[in-house]
């Protein structure tokens, strides 16, 4: 620790702290412009200049490191003079045409305007008399460029290079003519801009702004919530204006305090919000005309009729109840949703098991990540990603990315990996049939034939075993089935594997060496690996690899299946699975079933139900009569859409909750308008098991309703017998989602410590969270291996029928 004095106040800070940081700690504000906490210091604007006793000239607080006994003063008449001069000089080359909110007035809500105002300068009269650069200077659809407002702080240049690792912006020319340019003065898109808006988020003047909302002015309020796109789970800020009833979203901004992403978002999160207020939203419940008329169901289910909620809910409840009463509870299937809240998925699980009496529940996402779930189940007690995203990006010495187009599917994590390569020399091995963006950053690229992933990984393990690079101690202590596994790998000689995969033997050898020697090593995969008929074998081979190299239970290692949707993980956690109650508690274990019976009442089913694919087969064969789908376009997002169309077409009664019409809604009998993430409060669980609060920001559009309210209403209507008070959680009287979460916590050990109130206080809870004082579990340890020993699975390789068909 170093002790120094700032404005007469003694401050103790660690070594290598800047004066600016030390001052912050002492709650002393030093004006800054070019500084941003996420970026390497630049020292260009000179606004943060402070006096240091013994130095001839002032120094910049953002770059100068503290030293013992340093005496700093951050204010003096001379410093004030210099700062005012600096701001006046900046304004000499600054022109705001006044389009942002109040016509003709420069924007006064930027960091730059703040300091201009603070030092008593009138922006309008001090700035340049006329424009000297083009105002809307780039055709990028999302990013507004007005170089007249640029003060050359280079935050955008550094943000693009250091945050997004993309290097679109750079400085060109010099002296008074210095400017930022994209590429070699091309358009941003030609300079390979990914439109993530990091430069916008870091610009202190509004020179870079959000094009879609540049003229919409400031919001009335900000609502912090979670991005509705992928499993990374970035936090974002909805900017709301209350000039219409219920409010409207003006724009999305980032928040430097966001736990995963800080000021960073991807193009989807930052600019893909227009669906919330889309005119195409479903605004009233619909049922098919044949139902109203009481006639037989036509082949194509006939036309829609808009009805009120009472009618729609009655029809939906009646249809499901009829199926149960007529064909038995196992004739009904439910699909939970990776787009909906944990609380809503929990209610789906409860509706299936308690009200309808079936374990036929799964989530749609499993049609894509089913192999991951099944593969992990064999080895892990908890079916989830083992390590944190930050942990992999920050500590892995090498990473195998296989079957994941990371920067497209999970952009913020993909970018974190790019940064790991650029900033700390992490070794990246990218296996993908295509040359993808991650390949550009790879130490080694393996361009294998589609569907040959298992053979590829087996080949790597063959080389590892031949060179005795495996982790003997780990295998000894924490695994089982090693000898059989070793035998099963014998056939995967480099020559043979090269034939199957099309990857050169030498390259195989080099990759195996990097992955084996640069440890901890993490394996990252996603749907490009699981969307195959061989998906399950592919996943098993990866688990074998990590058992072989002892990369489980260590920071920087682990199994990292990147879940597709914002709440894929949560939907599964909440019992959206035919064999598990919430929290991976088996439906077939008598002890757990007792616990749920005590909570929900007698009569819950005893055998595991059908998974999504099995349900579809059953529907096609007439064994499944009714389906209730929550918030998903099952058909549109499926691997084999035709098969699903046949299945749904054959199903007697389909209830769908959705925000838009879709491929799937064509096969529904009742269409209930749910709401988007912006219109409800609850929680999402991201791919790394992090549970985060989602906040209501605008009123539901039209007559649409929060999905949890819809499920609750259906439960009330289907349930014939009321509660008799002897069961703890038989009721469905939830006033809000926090009450649902309390029930989840009571019944789900891995969520035991979760309450909304706690999440509002801290954002860093990754399950298992064992009780109200437990801090969560960023890395799953070896004790989470099934039976405390990871089982090697016999190495296999089967030709992929799906890709074999298409090639």
């Amino acid at each position: 620790m170093i002790s120094l004095t700032i404005n007469g106040q003694t401050v103790e800070v660690p070594e290598n702290t800047t004066i600016l940081k030390a001052a912050e700690q002492a709650r002393i504000v030093i004006p800054t412009l070019c500084h941003h906490k996420d970026l390497t210091p630049y020292g260009g604007c000179r606004l943060c200049s402070v006096d240091i006793h013994g130095l001839r000239l002032p120094a910049t607080a953002c770059t100068m490191l503290v030293s013992p006994g340093m005496i700093v003063s951050t204010e003096s008449p001379a410093l004030t003079r210099y700062r005012r001069t600096i701001l006046e000089l900046l304004l000499v080359r600054f022109y705001d045409a006044g389009y942002t909110h109040i016509a003709g007035m420069p924007a006064l809500d930027t960091q730059f305007a703040h300091w201009v105002n603070y030092y008593g300068i009138d922006m309008k009269s001090a700035m340049a008399r006329k424009p000297f650069r083009q105002i809307d200077g780039d055709p990028n659809p999302f990013i507004w460029v007005d170089k007249g407002k640029c003060i050359m702080c280079t935050r955008c240049v550094r943000a693009c290079a250091e945050v997004q690792a993309r290097f679109v912006w750079t400085q060109a020319y010099r002296g008074y003519d210095l400017r930022i340019v994209s590429g070699s003065a091309t358009t941003m898109m030609q300079a390979r801009c990914e439109s993530c808006g990091a430069c916008v988020a870091h610009c202190p003047t509004g020179a870079l702004d959000n094009k879609m909302s540049v003229k919409l002015g400031p919001p009335d309020r900000l609502v912090t919530t979670i991005c509705p796109y992928c499993g990374v789970g970035c936090q974002l800020e909805l900017n709301i204006k209350d000039d219409v009833p219920g409010g409207r979203v003006l724009r999305v901004t980032s928040n430097s305090k966001a736990p995963i992403n800080g000021d960073h978002l991807c193009v989807k999160g930052r600019y893909g919000y227009d669906f919330i207020h889309s005119p195409l939203r479903l605004k009233r419940p619909r049922i098919r005309k044949y139902i109203l008329e009481g006639t037989a169901r036509p082949e194509n289910r006939g036309p829609w009729v808009e009805v009120d909620w009472e009618c729609a809910l009655d029809v939906a409840a009646k249809g499901l109840r009829n199926a149960r009463d007529k064909y038995g509870p196992h004739s009904i299937g439910l699909l939970a949703s990776g787009k909906c809240l944990n609380e809503e998925n929990y209610l789906m699980n409860k509706l299936a098991r308690q009200v309808l009496g079936t374990n036929n529940i799964d989530c749609c996402d499993h049609t894509s990540h089913a192999s991951t779930v099944i593969g992990l189940e064999a080895t892990m007690e908890l079916i989830a990603q083992s390590n944190s995203l930050e942990d992999v990006a920050g500590q892995a010495k090498s990473i195998l990315v296989i079957g994941s187009n990371t920067t497209e599917q999970h952009p913020i994590f993909g970018v974190k990996l790019r940064r790991a390569v650029l900033h700390r020399g992490c070794k990246l091995v990218v296996a993908h049939p295509d040359f993808i963006n991650m390949s550009e950053f790879a130490t080694i690229r393996l361009i294998h034939k589609p569907g040959t992933e298992a053979a590829l990984v087996n080949g790597l393990m063959y080389i590892i075993l031949k060179n005795e690079w495996e982790d003997h101690a780990f295998i000894e202590k924490y695994t089982q089935g090693f000898d059989e596994f070793k035998q099963s790998i014998e056939g995967f000689t480099p020559g043979h594997v090269a034939d199957i995969t099309g990857v050169d033997e030498n390259v195989l050898h080099k990759s195996a060496e990097i992955l084996a020697k640069e440890r901890p090593m993490a394996v990252v995969w996603s749907v490009d690996l699981t969307h195959h008929s061989t998906g399950r074998v592919n996943v098993s081979s990866l688990i074998n690899l990590q058992l072989l190299l002892g990369n489980l239970g260590v920071a920087g290692g682990g199994l990292i299946p990147l879940r597709c949707q914002n709440n894929s993980q949560g939907a599964c956690d909440m019992g959206g699975h035919p064999a598990f109650y919430p929290g991976y508690q088996s439906v077939e274990l008598p002890a757990t079933r007792k616990k749920f019976e005590a909570a929900w009442g007698k009569g819950i089913p005893t055998k595991a139900g059908m998974n999504a694919m099995e349900m579809m087969t059953a529907a096609a064969e007439g064994r499944l009569r009714a389906l209730y789908i929550l918030g998903e376009d099952l058909v549109g997002g499926a691997l084999d859409g035709n098969q699903l169309r046949r299945s749904l077409g054959n199903c007697d009664f389909v209830v769908l909750e959705a925000v838009f019409e879709s491929e799937t809604s064509r096969h529904a009998d009742v269409l209930l308008p749910g709401v988007t993430f912006a219109e409800k409060t609850g929680t999402f669980t991201n791919t790394e098991r992090r549970i985060q609060m989602v906040h209501h920001a605008v009123a539901p559009q039209g007559e649409s309703r929060a999905d949890w309210k819809i499920i609750k209403e259906l439960a009330h209507r289907i349930k014939s017998n009321g509660t008799d008070g002897q069961y703890t959680h038989a009721d469905w009287d939830y006033g809000d989602t926090s009450q649902i979460m309390n029930e989840i916590a009571m019944l789900t050990p891995i969520y035991a410590g979760i309450t909304h109130e706690r999440l509002e206080r801290t954002d860093n809870l990754q399950w298992p969270v064992k009780n109200l004082s437990h801090p969560g579990t960023p890395t799953l340890s070896v004790e989470h291996l099934r039976n405390a020993r990871g089982r090697f699975i016999t190495a296999r390789y089967d030709e992929d029928v799906t890709s074999a068909q298409t090639t």
């Binding site: 260009g44 000179r46 002032p58 910049t60 600096i86 000089l89 900046l90 002296g175 008074y176």
Partner: protein, 550 residues
Amino acid sequence: MKVIRSMVLVSVDQASLEHGAEQVFHAFLEEIEEFGLSDQVAVSTIRDVSIHEDVPLVIVYPDAAVYAPVKVEDVHTIVEEHLFKGNIVPSLLAMMHELVPEIAWMRGRRGALPVQKRIVLERAGIVDPGSIEDYILYDGFQALGKALTRMKPAEVIAEVEKSGLQGRGGAGFPTGRKWSFVASTPGSPKYVICNADESEPGTFKDRLIIEGDPFSVIEAMTITGYAIGAHQGYIYIRGEYPLAYQRIEHAIEQAEAHGLLGNRIFGTDFNFHIHPHAGAGAYICGEETALIASLEGKRGMPRARPPYPTTFGLFGKPTVVNNVETLANVPAILRNGAVWYRDVGSPKSTGTKVYTILGNVNFTGLIEVPPGITLREVIDIYGKGMKNDKRLKLVQTGGSSGTIAPASLQDTPMDFDSFRNAGVSLGSGALLVCDEDTCVVDLAKVILRFFRNECCGKCTPCRIGTLRLYEIMNQISKGEGSLSDLAEVKKISEAMSEVSNCGLGQTASTALRDILKYFREEVEAHIIDRVCPVGACPIAIRKPEYLSVA
């Protein structure tokens, strides 16, 4: 080994080539062969020698006789008379006023300049810059041999420290101290960088040192490497100096071929490699941190110091950055000892200093003198007096970033301390002599335009300050200034010199500040009376407004 007693340099710039320089060069080779002088006379080439059509030009050393224009027919006479018999041929000598300064001073070098004392320029113009044998003959590589075989690295540093050698790149930092910082900083590898970016207007000493005596720079860098424990050196040469670049490249090849550079130098296990690098035309890349960024392949922009290059230099490693002239002193110090070196100078300004003289004097060029000489002496003795007998108005010392010394300071001895006390800096050693016809507003405009164009753009006060100051001086020179402009000048230049990141911004307004200190009335005359007393500014004399009402 050949014993070269004379050297012939033939100019090969574009104009010379057009006038038959190539044929002259070959004629010399033939004639010298003819007279059986091949082992005693070397023939080489030289560039950028003349401003006139009287080319090609031939310089014969050691007499420094400059012949021009030389035709093929003249070659026989020169070889016979001068090289064979030893008599200069007056009828073929060049007219003095037609020579560029750097050639002119060579012409008068022998005898004419009594108090010059040469350490750095000891061999420049005497040896064949392309011949390592020549260099060795003139004591070359003795210092390196001594260092490698008889001295420990720490002893080398101690000797340089004791010599009192101060950096000649502008800041005057003690060289020995810089070396010992780097030697004692943990971290490896370490690097040596020779700063040959020399872009300060009016400064061309480093170029002539390299062009005239490239091996001395190679030897000095190698000694530095040995002293601080580095094995790689870079020499960053201004892009507009192609000849210097070639000479260095050639010298590196020869030194390597002779085992004096590369691996196992002098048969010891010390290895040292030198890599030349050409700049790309930015003045700012002379600043050491910008130079390092540029060498690393980044945009040449200075960064915040500390950390200094001594701890965080090239590729983040401890690095010595020294100016060419600084380094060129080192071999002589090791050869003759620190005490000898101190004796040349004064206690606080040891050794000699190289100055470039330019401006309104009769004789412009390069001199190397011990400290203590006055501006008056420089102008009278070396400058051969003011041109056209005009009166001296001021001297700008140290290039565009330097200070203004009014005529009243011309008897102050030129050493670091006396000048500093008088508020004058020596900087890079450029002495721009201005006579009474110079307008200070015009001078300020020229200087500020230079900085406005060369500022890297990083710091607000420098980037926009240089622009504003130039605009203001421009207004004043057009008779459109107001007195409040001078208040703005004061405010801006104060912020520039106090809170800019690097020397450029900190000193860009120095000259203007001095002008307002010594010549304020002259500036005010432009504003209040709307006249340029010297008549140099484009002032449009306007009638006072009350007259035009009628």
